[in-house]
């Protein structure tokens, strides 16, 4: 089946074309939905069968390149449209198509009666197409195409309800913000690609990575890794380019679940993992990745503590969890990072879909302070949401526990106590704000008005929730740490080992701590998480006044957190406004209006003038034509004879 892996790319494209061209005019919602999710389901099947087939191969044969055709071959640049099937890309493909399929199905219910129903599915399919190119591409150019493609789809889907208001402006503004911030990152990524091409003369993985492995010049690797990482911070919403993700919540909730939680935002993590050899050759950048990851994790978690919009909380939580993944990358725990990508995809998609179900029930109201007591109205949503909240808080034996624990352990062993401590504190905060969200939403008094009639969502929405809940529960068992199950119990790490073998060889690990330390640390985090949950329960169920008192006692801290550290405002004053002013006063009024327009219009005028003369030669009189022709021949002969000597 691996030779048909391109189907996982083509089927979504087909879905996009069919739904995009015929959807609006000819298809009912049912047909659009079936085409939209059917193609992704089929892609998932292909990916699954490929996975099973590869599982049967010995580990050194598990990396297979499926070349479709030679795309172009100009100068030294030889690019094939080729897909790489290996342990890493298969895992990602399974996550994207699997979770993607579930979310597609859910969307059939969620987008019911929307006037852009077919368009929605067309965009979603286009997104999966781009995402599959990103993760399956066997060279940097295909990866980059996918990278840009998902950015475009993200833009299209954030602004999907382009006629709706969002906060102080419109969804289009949110979409533009996401696009522009991403472009800044993409620019860095592009420079990284240029550097790679300059250094190695190729963009193909199978030529670049062995070359990196053989070289030891860290300066150029530091540069390449730095620019690649800038790209990753844009796509994966890390400091300093994270500002777009909270605004991206303007899109429909399934979009937030699919693109802004489970798949697209993990593209940066995937890219770093794919280029693990390059990063491992650049120790300084590895440290930078770890630090940025840790800082982003705790930074976003603190903001998450005080937000009241259900999707905003989840958005900050996503940023924070992505920080974890980069922390893992930075300390060289690549497989732990990808493991967290997977478990996070399960429980975060579940949280978002659950939030969507709630928003659906509460008639598009998103403020958790107006929820409360929804437990009895929405049993399925409530149960699954609780599972997801426990999973993200790292309560064993749910999936989040295993991946988070692996990251924290690696941070402690290879990154030092500080990074570990930041990770733990973040983890406690995560548990706290998730359960703040949970208690305010499902337990306690009903704080919504009488006009709201909360109800459980239809089956087509709850069944996806249940599937994801199951995955959130059992998803972690593929990565049981060695301390519990012995040497070979971490199947996930074993599976990915060959992909990261070269990188791991380059890194020096300290890892001299014993199992006792590991269990001790684990106990600390789990106990801490449980305490945080209990604290959240105490505050938000019993004594809501504590929260109010706290915010009154520390008004400044509260205000800073509520306003997200004023990052948007700082960016506006420091970057956006100066650019706008310079653009307005200088670039637009002088450079553009006078200089460029002058040049362009001047050239155009000259061309038109010349053209006017040329046109006059064409008089319509045949004799003149003949004359000019003979003159031309005469001139040519004359000139050639003169130049013969």
């Amino acid at each position: 089946m691996t030779q048909y892996i391109y189907l996982t790319v083509l089927l979504p494209l087909l879905g996009f074309i069919v739904n995009g061209i015929f959807g609006k005019k000819y298809f009912s919602e049912k047909i659009s939905g079936i085409i939209g999710s059917g193609t992704i389901g089929a892609s998932f099947l292909v990916a699954l069968l490929s996975f099973i087939q590869v599982l049967g191969l010995p580990s050194e044969q598990r990396s297979i390149e499926v070349s479709l055709f030679n795309w172009f071959n100009i100068g030294n640049l030889n690019i094939n449209v080729a897909y790489q099937v290996d342990q890493l890309s298969l895992i990602m493909a399974l996550i994207v198509t699997g979770v993607g399929f579930i979310i597609h199905v859910y969307s059939i219910g969620y987008m019911h009666n929307d006037k852009g129903f077919a368009r929605f599915f067309a965009y979603l399919n286009l997104f999966i197409f781009a995402m599959m190119n990103l993760i399956l591409g066997s060279n940097f150019l295909i990866l980059f195409l996918g990278w840009e493609g998902v950015g475009l789809c993200s833009y299209l889907l954030i602004g999907f309800w382009y006629d709706r208001k969002f906060e102080k402006s419109t969804t289009s503004d949110a979409a533009k913000k996401a696009f522009i911030v991403n472009r800044i990152g993409d620019f860095g990524f592009l420079i990284g690609l240029f550097l790679i091409y300059l250094t190695f003369g190729s963009l193909n993985f199978k030529e670049v990575f062995p070359a990196v492995n053989a070289m030891s010049n860290t300066t150029i690797f530091n540069l390449i890794a730095l620019f690649l990482f800038i790209g990753a911070t844009g796509k994966s919403a890390q400091i300093p380019l994270f500002v777009w993700l909270p605004d991206a919540m303007a899109g429909p909730t399934p979009v937030s679940a699919l693109i802004h939680a489970a798949t697209m935002v993990t593209a940066g993590v995937y890219m770093v993992a794919r280029c693990s050899v390059i990063f491992a050759s650049a120790p300084a950048i590895m440290t930078l990745v770890a630090v940025i990851g840790a800082v982003t994790a705790i930074f976003a978690a603190t903001i998450g503590l005080v937000q009241t919009d259900i999707k905003k909380i989840l958005a900050y939580s996503t940023i924070s969890q992505l920080g974890y993944m980069f922390l893992a990358m930075g300390v060289g725990a690549f497989s732990a990072g990808i493991f967290h990508v997977m478990t996070h995809a399960f429980f975060k998609a579940l949280l978002f879909l659950g939030a969507g179900s709630i928003i659906h029930a509460m008639h598009d109201k998103q403020d958790i302070t107006n929820y409360g007591g929804l437990k009895k109205y929405m049993p399925a949503t409530y149960k699954t949401f609780l599972i997801a909240a426990l999973a993200i808080s790292g309560i064993p034996p749910l999936s989040g526990f295993f991946s988070k624990d692996e990251i924290l352990w690696n941070a402690f062993a290879n990154g030092g106590v500080v990074l570990w401590l930041v990770g733990v504190v973040t983890s406690l905060m995560t548990a706290f704000y998730m359960f703040r969200l949970y208690y305010l939403t499902f337990e306690g008094k009903e704080r919504f008005g009488h006009d709201a009639h909360p109800h459980e969502s239809p089956k087509i929405m709850t069944i996806p929730l249940i599937i994801l809940a199951v995955l959130s529960v059992i998803g972690g068992f593929v990565g049981i740490p060695a301390v519990f199950g012995g040497e070979n119990s971490n199947l996930f790490e074993k599976w990915l080992e060959p992909v990261f073998a070269d990188a791991n060889r380059k890194l020096s690990f300290y890892n001299s701590y014993g199992h006792t330390t590991e269990i001790l640390l684990m106990l600390v985090t789990v106990t801490g998480a449980v305490c945080s949950i209990l604290l959240a329960r105490f505050i938000y169920l019993k004594r809501i006044s504590i929260a109010d008192n706290l915010s009154r006692t520390f008004p400044k801290v509260y205000k800073i957190l509520l306003n997200k550290y004023y990052v948007d405002e700082i960016y506006n004053t420091a970057v956006v406004n100066p650019i706008v002013k310079i653009s307005d006063r200088f670039l637009w009024k002088i450079t553009d209006n006078k200089l460029i327009d002058g040049l362009v219009n001047g050239t155009a005028d000259v061309i038109l003038l010349i053209s006017g003369y040329i046109r006059k030669i064409q008089t319509g009189v045949t004799q003149i034509y003949a004359l000019v022709m003979v003159l031309g021949i005469g001139l040519a002969i004359f000139w050639l004879i003169l130049s013969i000597k």
Binding site: T622, V628, I633, A636
Partner: protein, 499 residues
């Protein structure tokens, strides 16, 4: 007797030409016998063309170029077969166009004549593409010209139609006269009309000044066929006046045959050998073709593009655009390398598709609104979104912007130039493409950015029209993204060239 035997033995090399001659005779006879119902005539021609196309494809795989047979009059090789394929496929499409063209339908009583003349042109072009002898070149050129004079004035329903035909004739007669003069001089110099023999006589040391003079005169005849400046004057008038089907046909098939002839003329008559890197080594003392073509191509594309800026009639605009494209195509000849030749071939594939497509949309719109003025295109994008979008695809491709096939064609042409270290010429060509953007996009501006004059105008497209437009529009996009097959086709065609 010996001659006759070799002639009979080598007849299989002429299968396509023989087939098309049979079609010609068949069309005439059927036209004479069945004088009531002539609707089936196009289908006879179409079937004949399709059969011929298969024979040409067969010829493509002959692998060897055979000049020994056929009295050294003709060369049969993959490059020639490729150009024949372009001609015959264009002919098939033109027959299809004629079926849905209002102009042609109105002259239904002379259909036999129309299709017979097209067959005549095809025969002429086939011989043009493979001729290796000056007499053969002249005869085939005349055969094509005479058929096209009549076709250009075929509909007879307007003054400009007859004017086009007459101008075409006068101008054509003159250039073929000049060409014949050149041929006679060469015969006088060398005592032969065979290009290979001429080359060996001249290489042994002939009067190079006279030779140069004669070569330029012969080029005048070829330059007139490919409408290179300053032999292009007939093009706008004829293209505007002739029926659209014939205009489209002239802009593709006749140009393809002209370029094949030019390449044949240069390689047989002036190229000593092709070295390992694919560069064409000219014989000592021959004309500096590189310099000559550089000037001609700059002149051609600049004149074409600049004159197109002012045009109000879309057919006339496309005529100038096709002159400009002749200039671009000459860029591939300028470099005198196999890479350049394969770039020309690639560009011809692309050019044939996009130019036929543009003419087709113009024809379909003229069928409905009865006008070819760009001003009358206002708001047509709303009246017929399908044709509007397809027109946009064709025009963007003609400009050479990605992701269309036109971009790929230009990319390979410019790459050939840069590999031959002719960067200034590449820069001029790129500036020309930028200028061309203006007049192509102006049409789109009229179609999409201006409100329609008649809000209720709705143009319906029939199924047959949908199919043919899509047949041309889809490859333009497809080859813009997935261009490996056409690039390989171009490379393979050249691989066996003159080795």
């Amino acid at each position: 007797m010996e001659n006759l035997k070799t002639l009979v033995d080598s007849l299989y090399l002429l299968k396509p030409e023989i087939a098309i001659s049979c079609v010609l005779v068949l069309v005439i006879i059927m036209d004479l016998i069945m004088d009531k119902n002539k609707t089936f005539l196009p289908y006879v021609a179409l079937t004949g063309f399709i059969i011929t196309a298969f024979l040409v494809v067969e010829q493509y795989f002959f692998k060897t170029s055979i000049t020994q047979n056929l009295q050294k009059l003709l060369v049969i090789d993959a490059v020639g077969a490729f150009f024949k394929l372009i001609v015959i496929l264009a002919s098939c499409l033109i027959v299809y166009f004629s079926l849905i063209s209002k102009e042609v339908k109105e002259a239904f009583d002379r259909h036999g004549e129309y299709y017979a003349l097209i067959c005549g042109m095809v025969i002429g072009m086939f011989f043009m593409i493979s001729s290796a002898d000056l007499i053969m070149i002249y005869l085939s050129l005349e055969l094509v010209s005479l058929s096209s004079y009549v076709l250009a004035g075929f509909t007879k329903n307007s003054l400009r139609n007859s004017e086009a035909s007459l101008k075409y004739f006068v101008f054509g007669a003159m250039s073929s006269g000049i060409m014949l003069f050149g041929i006679s001089i060469i015969f006088g110099l060398t005592g032969t009309t065979n290009l290979l023999a001429v080359k060996s006589v001249m290489a042994a040391g002939g009067n190079s000044l006279t030779f140069l003079f004669a070569s330029i005169l012969i080029f005048a005849g070829i330059g007139y066929k490919i409408s290179a400046a300053p032999f292009h004057f007939w093009t706008p008038d004829v293209y505007e006046g002739a029926p659209i089907t014939i205009t489209a046909y002239l802009s593709i098939a006749s140009k393809a045959a002209g370029f094949a002839l030019l390449i044949r003329f240069i390689t047989l008559g002036y190229v000593q050998q092709i070295d390992a890197s694919g560069a064409w080594q000219l014989v000592a003392g021959s004309i500096d073709w590189k310099k000559f073509f550089t000037v001609i191509s700059i002149l051609t594309m600049t004149l074409g593009n600049f004159a197109a800026l002012w045009q109000d009639n879309i057919k006339r605009m496309l005529a100038y655009s096709s002159i400009a494209h002749a200039g671009y195509l000459l860029l591939g000849v300028v470099v005198l390398t196999n890479q350049g030749l394969s770039a020309v071939i690639l560009y011809f594939i692309v050019y044939a598709i996009m130019n036929l497509g543009a003419f087709l949309v113009v024809m379909l719109i003229a069928n409905k609104i009865g006008s070819e003025e760009i001003d009358d295109y206002k708001g047509l994008g709303y009246a017929t979104p399908f044709l509007g979008v397809c027109m946009a695809i064709f025009l963007i491709s003609l400009t050479g912007l990605p992701p269309t096939a036109g971009f790929i064609g230009k990319l390979y042409l410019f790459t050939a130039l840069i590999e031959a270290k002719m960067i200034p010429l590449a820069v001029i060509a790129i500036i020309n493409s930028v200028v061309s953007l203006y007049y192509y996009i102006r049409v789109l501006k009229h179609m999409f950015l201006t409100r329609p004059q008649n809000e209720d105008l709705v143009i319906n497209t029939s199924f047959a029209e949908y199919v043919i437009v899509l047949v041309l529009a889809v490859p333009v996009i497809l080859f813009g993204i997935y261009f490996t097959p056409i690039v390989n086709l171009a490379k393979n065609s050249v691989a066996l060239f003159l080795q």
